[in-house]
């Protein structure tokens, strides 16, 4: 079976906007705006949501936040704190790996 080759766009090279981020996480625009305003998503955002652009990292982070809020009824700040800790854990695990030490 042959299938055509599909070209993938690398987010970060093509930034995604508010609507696209909301659609890809199946949340509302308002959800995204609320989380940016709470400071848990897209730090250093300007006041106009129309010009916000999101990276790969923001997309993964938004999905994490949504899952935590959904699973534990967490508020945005608490979910943000947990995601910060998870990201820190990942960073430290990567450093362990870099030093040749596994985290397992």
């Amino acid at each position: 079976m042959t299938t055509e080759e599909l070209t993938a766009a690398l987010l970060d090279e093509v930034r995604i906007g508010l609507e696209e981020l909301a659609a890809s996480c199946t949340v509302s625009r308002e959800w995204v705006i609320e989380h940016v305003q709470a400071g848990v998503l897209l730090e250093r955002a300007g006041p106009d949501p129309g010009v916000w652009s999101f990276t790969s990292h923001d997309l993964i982070r938004a999905r994490h936040l949504y899952a935590l809020e959904h699973q534990f009824d967490a508020n945005p700040e608490l979910a943000g704190l947990v995601v910060d800790l998870v990201e820190e854990l990942e960073r430290l695990r990567a450093r362990l790996k870099r030093a040749g030490l596994s985290s397992d």
């Binding site: 079976m1 299938t3 055509e4 080759e5 599909l6 070209t7 993938a8 766009a9 690398l10 987010l11 970060d12 090279e13 093509v14 995604i16 659609a23 890809s24 199946t26 790969s56 990292h57 997309l59 993964i60 999905r63 949504y66 899952a67 959904h70 699973q71 534990f72 998870v86 854990l89 990942e90 990567a94 450093r95 790996k97 870099r98 040749g100």
Partner: protein, 300 residues
């Protein structure tokens, strides 16, 4: 799945779900298969916490076992008009076969209804070399489809995805239109692929920077030498500076993962002692011991 009785109250279900969600949280759990278990727990919760879906689930009866072909009852659609949003949205892309079949799109149920298809998310593992050169990788996806009898079956299909040069851990690729088909005249959703690297025996990656160990002989480290090093994008001659020690980083600027700017490649020196396994070798070590006034405990 959640370990609750069939007649559990909403509050009991919620409590059981939270307890398991914490236990199997894929980012922190030490349990084997945490990710797969979490998916099951999510599904069970989504079904049991929604009155509509719970009623549908209860009506399925006890005859169904996972792995059997699932045939919707003849009046399947009649009594259950799903309100959609929560289930077709949310984490729907993470749902396993059983529930996708149960609650997946029923295909053009309501005439005149248009909606954009869901976006899907998946993780893919690639080789570090793919990030240096770019590569085409086959990604296998499972989606529900109707067979010739109108039954819903899971169909596997492969996508040949061109991975662009310069991707790194945690970046996301988007394949436009490769998510779920839209309903009515709605456009198809997109497929998002999160990039992770397979563990490599030789290289360690952090962001765009790549680390490798370079083993050197004591005289190469002490006197300096030009040595051959293997990199993901070919071999190079590297100058080991005189007086190097184990742990010294040699930076090869721009030889990490390509991009704008490219990452760097770090060769971490490891001085390896030749074995003292012959009279000649032992004599050389003894000469050093007697001729060099060297105390390694004093040098730090």
């Amino acid at each position: 799945m959640l370990g609750v009785a069939r007649d559990a109250t909403a509050e009991e279900i919620k409590k059981a779900f939270r307890r398991l969600a914490r236990k199997y949280h894929p980012d922190v759990s030490k349990e084997a298969n945490a990710e797969a278990r979490m998916k099951e727990v999510n599904e069970a919760h989504a079904v049991l916490s929604d009155p509509e879906k719970r009623a549908a689930y209860d009506q399925l009866g006890k005859g169904f076992r996972a792995g059997q072909d699932f045939r919707p009852p003849p009046d399947w659609d009649a009594g259950f008009e799903f309100s959609g949003r929560d289930f077709s949205g949310g984490q729907a892309a993470d749902f396993s076969d059983f529930f996708s079949e149960l609650f997946g799109r029923q295909g053009g149920r309501a005439a005149g209804f248009h909606a954009r298809g869901e976006d899907h998310h998946a993780k893919i593992l690639i080789d570090l070399e793919d990030a240096y050169q770019g590569a085409t990788r086959l990604v296998t996806l499972r989606t529900p489809k109707a067979d010739e009898h109108g039954r819903v079956v899971m169909a596997e299909h492969g996508l040949n995805v061109r991975i662009p040069k310069g991707v790194h851990e945690g970046q996301v690729l988007r394949l436009t239109g490769q998510g779920s088909p839209g309903m009515g005249e709605g456009s198809a959703g997109d497929l998002y692929l999160e990039i992770h690297f397979k563990p490599h025996p030789r290289y360690r990656v952090e962001g765009r920077d790549v680390y490798a160990t370079l083993r050197v002989a004591p005289w190469e480290a002490a006197l300096g030498a030009s040595v051959k090093a293997t990199l993901p994008d070919g071999n190079v001659e590297v100058r080991v500076p005189e007086g190097s020690q184990t742990g010294r980083n040699l930076r090869l600027k721009g030889r990490g993962i390509p991009g704008a700017p490219p990452g760097d490649l770090y060769l971490v020196l490891e001085v390896v002692l030749p074995p003292a396994d012959s009279p000649r070798a032992r004599a050389l070590y003894q000469t050093m011991a007697s001729d060099l006034a060297f105390d390694p405990r004093e040098s730090r």
